[in-house]
Amino acid sequence: MADLIKLTGLQRYYEVGGETVKALDGVDLVINHNEYISIMGPSGSGKSTMMNMIGCLDSPTTGTYEFEGEKVHEMDDNQLASIRNRKIGFVFQTFNLLPKLTALKNVELPLIYANIPKDERLELAEIAMGKVSLTDRMHHKPNELSGGQRQRVAIARALVTNPSIILADEPTGNLDSKSGVEIMSVFDELHSEGNTIILVTHEAYIAKHAHRTIHILDGRIEKDVYNKKIRKKLNKKKATA
């Protein structure tokens, strides 16, 4: 099977007031299926650009980006929209639910853009709501839900198309610590069910949930390490082999 994500020599430059900002300056990275990754870095390090790039919201200036073998760097707007729809589930810091729609409708939304008929849409949305254990809150609007519940709705929305990766940008940034723990356990569970998860965060204790942490600084990967537990597991595997 092809690598899930393969970035090669990826650069992203911006022109800001006549100056060139090198948000990403030569990134090589491979991400495999069912990895649990956190991307860390101080603000201005390029981690947001990195996330937008992985999320197919942005296109590289130079370099290549292959997503399950598809050449993302050559895609036009419509193809990018389609790959975002089918392969990527976004979870945002500020939830970004549509306030006028019920939780269920919010979860349904990506399926509408995937052209899935109504009955099937409803069924899939309900299953996704079940995965984040919110079946009793499906017909509430976002402002009738707590922060933790809202983020769970957002996670359900990210899950509903059964994407190849779930991309979460500071998912606990707007939550109290209790809800934060709750949300992180949802991610842990999703990972154990076989999903690939990428967290962008600057909190070390959040990053610890991931099995692999990528540190970004000045548009480059500074450090790319497996967490201790995983290292041990990998070593064990090597030893048995």
Partner: protein, 404 residues
């Protein structure tokens, strides 16, 4: 297909979420559509009552009188023209080969009394029996007078429908006596109800007596016109012929201008066409103006809507909305706002035309106009929505998601 249906639903949801704003925005469209449909109703009503009035003036009847109906001759010029004479009629009939019938009509305003009842301001016409051919009227009961009665100056009278109603409530007027001044007349006929002529004067508010009687009792001279019914296949020839006969009767030299006027239905028609164009033009102007203003209002509110929902657009794009689907969503929103306005306008216009029909004159709202209105409001919606929708579709998802 799914996305189309959903785009419609999204657009309607967005409008419903901002009911007040949508209602106010679409007001311009409502007024525009109301203007165009009511104008259409009005013109249809005018047309109808005009045609009805015109049916009293035969297409093939020429009216010879001192003044032109819609002329621009100076009043003193008309005043100095010689009066028309009753004996012209015989000469026209003798000499004109296209003349079918001709009647002199003299008129004055009188009060008709019967016991305590009085009908005031009745136009009394003195004419000959051929009036039944030149004028368009039917006798409802009784009869018209005979040539003998005309020649002998019999004191008989044919009264209009309204006159009969005023003087003889629930009674049969035939054979009864009425008085004009001190002269007593015997009622021999009643004309059928005809209604108003161009909404100005009633044709039911008149009475007709023999020409001989009229001249003997009231006046030998005075205001008179000649009504000449001609061969309806040669109306223009007949007109030329009558002008020639009249000029000969008046002894006019080749250099001199006509000192009489020949009027026909066409004069009214031309006048009416001009008026109709004026009304239609004004209506069109108001409509275009309010639709343009309405369209600008909608464009404005759509820009606001796009700005307000920048984040929503970002989210939608992140989860897979294409530019086309965002464009469609906002375009449909603008379209529906306008269509709702158009429908409200049509409903109001239906009410308005019902009132016009009931209280002003018989009229109906043309269905074609309602359809045109709907198409028009759709066009306004789409045109007004284009720029805002394009802007929404082109938003960069990263920027949009970051928008506060």
């Amino acid at each position: 297909m799914v996305t189309y249906v959903e785009s419609v639903r999204m657009a309607l949801t967005a409008i419903w979420g901002n009911k007040m704003r949508a209602a106010l925005t679409t007001l311009g469209i409502v007024i525009g559509i109301l203007a165009v449909t009511l104008m259409g109703t009005l013109i249809s009503g005018l047309d109808r009552s005009f045609e009805k009035s015109m049916s009293f003036l035969g297409r093939d009847v020429l009216y010879i009188s001192k003044h032109e109906w819609f002329g621009d001759s100076e009043w003193w010029e008309i005043r100095n023209r010689p009066d028309l004479k009753v004996d012209y009629v015989e000469k026209l009939k003798d000499q004109g080969k296209y003349v079918v019938a001709a009647a002199p009509v003299a008129m004055r305003s009188v009060n008709i009394t019967r016991k305590d009842e009085m009908a005031m301001g009745i136009s009394l016409a003195g004419t000959t029996t051929e009036f039944t051919q030149t004028a368009f009227m039917n006798i409802e009961s009784g009869r018209f007078y005979t040539e003998g009665e005309d020649r002998s100056g019999a004191r008989v009278i044919v009264i209009g429908y309204d006159v009969a109603n005023v003087l003889f409530e629930n009674e049969n007027p035939i054979g009864e006596k009425v008085k004009i001044g001190n002269y007593v007349f015997r009622v021999i006929g009643i004309t059928e109800k005809q209604g108003k002529f161009l909404g100005m004067f009633s044709l039911d508010n008149r009475a007709i007596i023999p020409m001989g009687t009229y001249q003997r009792l009231f006046s030998r001279r005075g205001w008179m016109r000649l009504e000449v019914k001609v061969d309806d296949e040669h109306i223009d020839d007949a007109k030329d012929e009558i002008i020639a006969i009249m000029r000969r009767l008046r002894g006019l030299g080749p250099e001199e201008k006509n000192d009489f006027a020949i009027n026909q239905q066409d004069a009214f028609r031309q006048q009416y066409q001009t008026m109709k164009i004026a009304i239609g033009g004004t209506g069109f102007f108001i409509t275009v103006l309010s639709l343009v203003v309405g369209g600008i209002g909608i464009m404005n509110i759509m820009f606001v809507s796009v700005k307000e929902r920048t984040r929503e657009i970002g989210v939608r794009k992140a989860i897979g909305a294409t530019q086309a689907s965002i464009m469609r969503q906002f375009l449909l929103e603008a379209l529906f706002i306008c269509l709702i306005g158009g429908c409200v306008g049509i409903v109001l216009a239906l009410g308005g035309s019902f009132l016009i029909d009931k209280f002003v004159f018989p009229s109906t709202m043309p269905v074609s106009l309602a359809l045109i209105s709907l198409i028009l409001s759709s066009v306004v919606g789409i045109v007004a929505g284009l720029a805002p929708s394009y802007k929404a579709a082109r938003l960069d998802p990263i920027e949009a998601l970051r928008y506060e």
